[in-house]
């Protein structure tokens, strides 16, 4: 489920206009390869929530795999983005409603003549997806709610992967591994003295390192959220929505 190295982690020179979903929306009028790769990148990150949703809706693993492949193949190859719906501001909502539309109207017709060979533009490890789905705890939430939960998980995983990659590139993989708990932990559970001993640094340096890590994490998180909304004003709202989804 790992995505390839992303470009979302650009610095202050990055303009929101290059965030993936806004590029896709803007290019809805044209067949730019940039939009194509932006959409593919988005789908590569967020396909598991769709798979889980389809399974949760009652489809068998085999059907769910076919469905997921077929859906993404259509999405990426047919550019079905030509509706003037102003609510297309969020990629998450767009993907879910597209999927529902697909399930309701097209799947029955298509399943008899599915092409096989899968979607060429994405690498979907569907067997792994099924294992992952299997491991999940029983949950009374509706499929929609569950979708949002998985979405939040996919988002976080993507962000953490980017963060880890950055530290690895800087030769600080060990530092990341040691400090990553501080992203969620309060100070008491992660005493800096312990970390300092482990890494051979003094406490003040640990403090600075932790601060930098958390700050960079927040930046990447916001960048990734911005990737999936069309409008910077929606970013905060999207974060809150996902938080509510996880808590509920």
């Amino acid at each position: 489920m790992n995505s390839s190295g992303s470009t979302a982690a650009e610095g202050p020179g990055a303009r929101f206009l290059t965030t993936h979903w806004s590029v896709v929306l803007a290019a809805g009028r044209s067949d730019s390869t940039r939009a194509q790769s932006a959409l593919a990148r988005l789908c590569q990150t967020y396909w598991y929530p769709l798979y889980a949703y389809v399974r949760r809706r009652g489809h068998s693993p085999h059907d769910a795999q076919d469905l997921t492949q077929e859906f993404f193949a259509r999405l990426l190859e047919h550019h079905s983005l030509a509706s003037a719906d102003p609510n297309r501001g969020r990629f998450r909502s767009f993907l879910l409603s597209s999927l529902n539309h697909f399930l309701a109207h097209e799947w029955q017709k298509v399943r008899a003549q599915k092409r096989g060979g899968g979607c060429q533009l994405l690498s979907l490890d569907l067997a792994l997806a099924e294992q992952r789905y299997d491991r999940e705890l029983a949950d009374n939430a509706t499929p929609d709610k569950l979708f949002d939960k998985h979405w939040a998980g996919a988002l976080l995983e993507e962000v953490l992967n980017q963060l880890e990659a950055e530290y690895q590139q800087a030769g600080k993989a060990e530092l990341f591994a040691a400090l990553k708990q501080t992203l969620t932990g309060t100070r008491e559970s992660q005493p800096y003295a312990v970390l300092a001993a482990r890494l051979g640094m003094n406490e003040a340096a640990i403090k600075v390192a932790v601060h930098r890590l958390r700050k960079r994490y927040r930046g990447l998180l916001r960048a990734e959220i911005a990737n999936v909304v069309a409008d910077p004003e929606q970013a905060d709202d999207e974060l809150r929505h996902l938080f509510a989804a996880l808590a509920g």
Partner: protein, 411 residues
């Protein structure tokens, strides 16, 4: 059963697929926090708080020369208030931009330059700028107040048909051409920025503001300062790539999108169908729209006035029907054919004459000379009746003109 690992922070069980083994809820919560030490030279900028427009009472302090009446719009870039200038006893619109916009080197200079350029745009179809400045860190404009809806509101209410669209477009073209001749590109043409006043005149708002705010937004990386992205649908492709290096032809593209949306109700996305296939519009308009929506600026109309001329020619050529707006026609439209006028003084003598002969004929008839009397009676009586009826029609039409409605259907 295995014991689940717990999150050290919230003590809840960690879900099996937790990202990197960390509690997703705590992760997101950490993501929502703002930084304790802003501006440490770190690539991850803190997000400024979202812009909340001040209440009219709060604004009044900063604008002693105005009477702030009410907030009439927000979003876009900032907020707009209806206000009154007691000195001139007129209504104005006060537009303020969010404080975050005004930071950065050289902003004040750019702002002044831009505002002065806008002040040169004196045109009946462009919202006039009366004054500008900065108050309490907020850049502001005092502008002409337009009492009427914008195109978006009209579209939503379903109040526009293709023919009305054809009358609006040439006005927009005139305004844009005027601005382009002054070297000013709007950069943000969209239905929300096109207003219509009570007389049905088009007024274009927010000229050049996109450039001012756009620069500021790009300086501040990801911020919540305004939804410039909301206009993505209307942006020319070259404008999406390099927002600040476009020329007047970007406006032509945006106008094409607006035009298409007016005609069909949809946005031209992907491989869009030509307007004539989606609505009852003249097929010749397809070419106009397609040419405006060319991705390559060099392949579009090079002057917006050419677009307006083409639209007007199509309108004139295709008007087999009389003009249908119940509002008075826009200035750019050719005048409606005048209603038939017959002067009363032509009818009245004929009426009197016929009446007299009719009486004469009747008299003769009764007296006994029936032959010619009949003829006279019927001829002149008939003439008299016709004249009377015609006279009544004239009177009724005159009444209609005063009230603007017809008295009866058959007039």
């Amino acid at each position: 059963m295995d014991t689940m690992p717990l999150c050290p922070s919230c003590n809840r069980p960690l879900p099996p697929n937790a990202p990197k083994g960390l509690c997703p809820e705590c992760l997101l919560k950490a993501g929502l926090q703002t930084d304790a030490q802003p501006g440490a030279g770190d690539p991850a900028q803190p997000k400024p708080p979202p812009f909340v427009p001040p209440r009219p009472e709060e604004l009044a302090r900063h604008f002693p020369q105005l009477e702030i009446l009410e907030l009439i719009g927000r979003g876009g870039m900032g907020a707009v208030y209806k206000a009154r200038q007691p000195s001139l006893d007129r209504l104005v619109a006060l537009k303020i931009l969010p404080p975050g916009v005004a930071g950065g080197a050289g902003f004040a200079e750019r702002f002044t330059r831009e505002a002065r350029a806008l002040a040169r745009l004196s045109h009946p179809n462009i919202v006039a700028v009366y004054d500008f400045g900065q108050a309490a860190g907020m850049p502001f404009f005092v502008m002409e107040y337009v009492d009427g809806p914008n195109l978006r509101e009209l579209e939503r209410g379903g109040k526009l048909n293709p023919r009305e669209a054809m009358q609006i477009i040439p006005q927009i073209c005139q305004a844009l051409q005027f601005a382009h001749d002054e070297g000013i590109v709007h950069r943000d043409i969209k239905p929300e920025n096109i207003l219509l006043d009570k007389k049905g005149r088009v007024k274009i708002a927010d000229f050049g503001i996109a450039k001012l705010v756009g620069q500021a937004v790009s300086d501040a990386a990801l911020t919540g300062a305004g939804d410039v992205v909301g206009t993505l649908h209307y942006m020319a492709p070259e404008q999406v790539e390099k927002p600040l290096a476009v020329d007047h032809r970007a406006d032509i593209f945006s106008l094409g999108v607006v035009f298409y949306e007016l005609l069909t109700g949809e946005l031209p996305l992907g491989k869009f169908a030509p307007p004539s296939q989606m609505a009852q519009v003249d097929v010749r308009l397809d070419e106009v729209v397609v040419r405006a929506l060319q991705k390559e600026p060099a392949r579009r109309y090079q002057h917006v006035s050419d677009l307006g001329t083409d639209v007007q020619n199509i309108t004139a050529a295709g008007s087999a029907n009389p003009p249908l707006l119940s509002q008075p026609p826009a200035p750019a439209m050719p005048p409606a054919p005048p209603p038939e006028e017959t002067s009363d003084c032509r009818i009245l003598p004929a009426f009197l004459l016929a009446f007299i002969f009719g009486i004469f004929g009747a008299h003769r008839f009764y007296v006994g000379k029936t032959g010619t009397a009949f003829l006279q009676l019927f001829t002149f009586g008939g003439l008299g009746i016709w004249a009377t009826v015609d006279w009544i029609l004239i009177v009724c039409r005159a009444f209609k003109d005063k009230k603007g409605r017809r008295i009866a259907k058959w007039t």
